[in-house]
Amino acid sequence: MSLLRLRLSGGLAVALACLSPACDQTPGAQNPGDVQRSGGPGTGATASDFTARDIEGKTIRLSTYLGKQVILLNFWQTWCEPCVAEFPHLRRMYEANKDRGFIIFGVAMDGPETVANVPAFAKRNQLNFPVLLDEDSHIAAIYNPKKSAPLSVLIDRSGKIAVIREGYNPGDEDYLAQEVEKVLAEGAPASQ
């Protein structure tokens, strides 16, 4: 754990963290690394199932959606400012695509010390997609062992991981939107 990353953690500090690997990027030409995991539909690793509670108290099981919808897991914490900066773009993306078989799950990695803030945080950031609680890091252990925030995992309709995108900088939303559009357009039928 780097001293700099430590200094960058928490509150404002996470804004500085945009200088760290956990949040950087911007728009421009196509990123050759964007589709690191997928040479086409169904060529990435199979996404693992998990069960978690959302902030409304409902139990969500990923396998209910795997193989049926395009899923974006977006990992964040309430003190992560780059995560806050990304939310408006995720809201729009969800609103624009939810009727096309696209769902976003926000995954709050807050531990016991800040999990109380998650419901209000979701409200004030006007999150219009489900928010899951991962207080004990069991989802992060599967998809985000480094606990980067934000980190997005895009899962295609065949239940395979298409893209993992770490960090957020202004303009990254364009890349993510392109990736989501590509996976939605591929429209592979459910195979599981």
């Binding site: 754990m1 780097s2 001293l3 700099l4 430590l6 200094r7 953690s9 928490g10 509150g11 404002l12 500090a13 804004a15 500085l16 945009c18 200088l19 690997p21 950087d24 990027q25 911007t26 728009p27 421009g28 690394g33 690191q36 040479g39 060529t43 690793a45 199979t46 693992s48 902030i55 409304e56 108290g57 139990t59 806050v84 900066a85 408006p88 773009h89 531990g111 016991p112 010390e113 800040t114 109380a116 419901p119 209000a120 004030r124 006007q126 207080e135 004990d136 890091s137 062992p145 480094k146 606990k147 395979k160 993992i164 995108r165 770490e166 900088n169 202004p170 303009g171 990254d172 890349y175």
Partner: protein, 630 residues
């Protein structure tokens, strides 16, 4: 060793930058089902420069390569995971400093530090089926809001504690049951200090000093617990949870206090054989011999057995306009001695969230009485970097990076914090926070009984009244591509005898401005004015002087590949260098993998996350951080 490290570094970097990086894919099928492999690889190479003013010789000047390799295999309903950690050091202080007067101290210090090692830090096998999850090996686990049990990862502090044993969760809404049993398994290598939690190496005889045999630094902490939930998916969720922590010896000792047999190490310093028992022993005299060696930094550290039990009730949705959480917990510690009469503790915690556009409000209330975190049995006299190993983290109701809760602030405290947000427009939000706490355990010597009555001899001097407040804004513009976060805050901590204990004023900001095309800039910083009792004292003057400290960073971001940053830190704390300069370059070669080069200086000092604190040594040097995901 330097050649070995350099060769490894070159190999890793070359591998990372190779054009045809391996992909995460499903491996060939076994039994008709694909085998999935996920790899996350993190490597840090760091060369520390020579010490500056106020820095210790033994903390600086060395090279370190730390590597973490996460492997996760998935097949059908099984997941097999492993994290392989390794550390290699060169130019260690004991290897390069020949000063006779320092020799013995360096060898003693080095016997628990800068250890070349490769070891499986985490290992687990999980079976998941509809409503059932069974894990053998390492697992993170938390009951309630962490009052009773919280074994998890806090990256910012290098904390990564799991339960090594078994965990079974059966979930059938509205009911759920979790059973756990195993040994605590904290991270064994502390990157900022190079300190390791392995048994110490033998310190040879130097200048007439007697040799020091290997000593264990971490005990065999055994945890069993259960949680029963009812109401999942319903409007009200109740959870009952209980945990027992039992502290045992990591090895068997004879009646003379010597370890029976002797641990042996391979050339990398990895423990090859452990005497007598692989998982320690609770037999006497081994247990007493070990626990007598563990410094008694707090009541839980001093106790052989601690039981935490709690009950929570949650209403996750108040008709879509909020939520309520309430948890009560009790703690029973075994008495450390006949004079240890205050072995009971209890805690109440509640949070209430309300939201009606355009307002959200979060109120947290806590009242803890002689209620301590479940501290691990670490020989902190030789491994102070691990003094924050704990298996429960009661909520603090403080800002996450608050480093102003001193002593055992949270063990005996009553107070509340409220945050009120008002969204003026879709792109502009303002908020204010206010907190007020009374603590009887912040000043050394202070504590209370389970009724909250101070047990200190000098009650006025050990009771603190703490007030803090902040106001801030969030403002977006440029079609949500630019954003400003800013706030100012103040904290006033005064003792019951009216003596000021701690005061602070702070301002922090983060401004991200999108320019055009792939370009954006970011300015971020935090600046604090602080004064604390008995700190920053000049000469023989008995009066603490205030000091300034802060940091600022500028960054240019060129998407999608580059972030170039430059920053500085400063402090006017007496005896420390005033200025610290640094710069870094981040290159992202895929959307998920990157390399970061950093050179410069960082302040040392106390840093906290979520009420867990530790002292970091100052950093002065260069480092490369490599993150690969396959």
């Amino acid at each position: 060793m330097a050649k070995k490290a350099a060769a490894g570094a070159v190999a890793i970097v070359a591998f990372a930058l190779a054009p045809s990086v391996a992909h995460a894919v499903d491996l060939p099928s076994v039994g008709g089902a694909p085998v999935k492999l996920d790899i996350t690889e993190t490597s840090v190479f760091a060369q520390r420069f020579l010490p500056r003013e106020g820095e210790k010789e033994e903390d600086q000047g060395y090279f370190a390569w730390l590597n973490r390799l996460n492997l996760v295999f998935g097949w059908k309903k099984l997941t097999l995971g492993m994290r392989l950690d390794s550390s290699i050091y060169a130019l260690r202080p004991q290897d390069r400093i020949d000063t006779p007067s320092l020799r013995q101290a360096l060898l003693v210090d080095g016997s628990t530090r800068y250890r070349d090692a490769i070891y499986p830090a985490k290992l687990w096998l999980t079976y998941k089926a509809e409503g059932v999850e069974v894990t053998a090996g390492d697992s993170y686990v938390q009951f309630g809001r962490g009052l009773v049990l919280s074994m998890r990862k806090v990256d910012e502090l290098g904390v990564d504690t799991t339960l090594f044993g078994g965990k079974v969760t059966v979930q059938k809404d509205p009911f759920g049951v979790t059973l756990i049993a195993g040994l605590a398994n904290p991270a064994r290598v502390d990157e900022p200090t190079g300190r390791a939690l392995f048994p110490s190496q033998t310190v040879p005889s130097v200048a007439g000093n007697a040799p020091i045999p290997p000593q264990p630094l971490f005990g065999s902490d055994r945890i069993i617990g259960a949680q029963i939930q009812a109401g999942r998916g319903l409007p009200v969720i109740a959870s009952t949870h209980a945990v027992r922590l039992q502290k045992c010896a990591p090895y068997a000792y004879d009646t003379q206090g010597d370890i029976v047999g002797a641990p042996s190490f391979d050339p990398f310093g990895v423990l090859v054989t452990m005497p007598m028992t692989d998982f320690g022993t609770c037999e006497e005299p081994s247990r007493s011999t070990w626990l007598d060696d563990v410094p008694k930094l707090g009541p839980v550290a001093a106790s052989r057995e601690t039981i935490n039990a709690g009950q929570s009730i949650e209403i996750p949705s108040l008709w879509g306009h909020g939520s309520i959480y309430l948890e009560g917990a009790v703690q029973k510690r075994s008495a450390d001695s006949s004079t240890d009469v205050h072995t009971l503790g209890n805690a109440l915690y509640a949070s209430v969230v309300t939201s009606v556009e355009p307002v959200t409000n979060t109120l947290e209330v806590k009242s803890y009485r002689n209620f301590f975190p479940l501290a691990g049995s670490v020989n902190v006299s030789r491994a102070a970097a691990f003094s924050n190993v704990a298996y429960s983290i009661p909520p603090t109701a403080e800002p996450i990076i608050s480093d102003t809760m001193f002593g055992f602030f949270n063990a005996c405290v009553t107070g509340a914090r409220d945050r009120f947000d008002y969204r003026f427009t879709p792109t502009f939000l303002a908020y204010g926070t206010f907190g007020y706490f009374v603590t009887k355990a912040e000043v050394p010597g202070g504590n209370c009984d389970h009724f909250g009555r101070s047990t200190a001899d000098d009650k006025l001097n050990t009771t603190n009244y703490v007030t803090d407040a902040s106001v801030g804004i969030e403002w977006r513009f440029d079609d949500d591509r630019s954003i400003v976060f800013a706030n100012v805050s103040g904290r006033h901590d005064v003792k019951a005898n009216d003596e000021p204990y701690y005061r602070e004023l702070a301002a922090q900001y983060s401004i991200t401005k999108y320019i055009a095309g792939p370009y954006a800039i970011e300015l971020a910083g935090r600046h604090r004015y602080r004064v604390q009792e008995d700190e920053n004292i000049r000469g023989l003057t008995p009066r603490a002087e205030p000091w300034w400290q802060g940091e600022h960073q500028n960054a240019l971001k060129v998407a999608p590949k580059w972030v170039i940053s430059q920053g500085f830190e400063y402090t006017t704390f007496i005896g420390l260098p005033t200025y610290y300069f640094n710069a870094s370059v981040l290159y992202r070669f895929t959307s998920e993998s990157n390399i970061r080069l950093y050179a410069g200086q960082n302040r040392g000092g106390l840093r906290c996350v979520s009420g867990i604190c530790r002292v970091f040594p100052a950093f002065s040097g260069a480092r490369v951080e490599l993150t690969l995901r396959f």
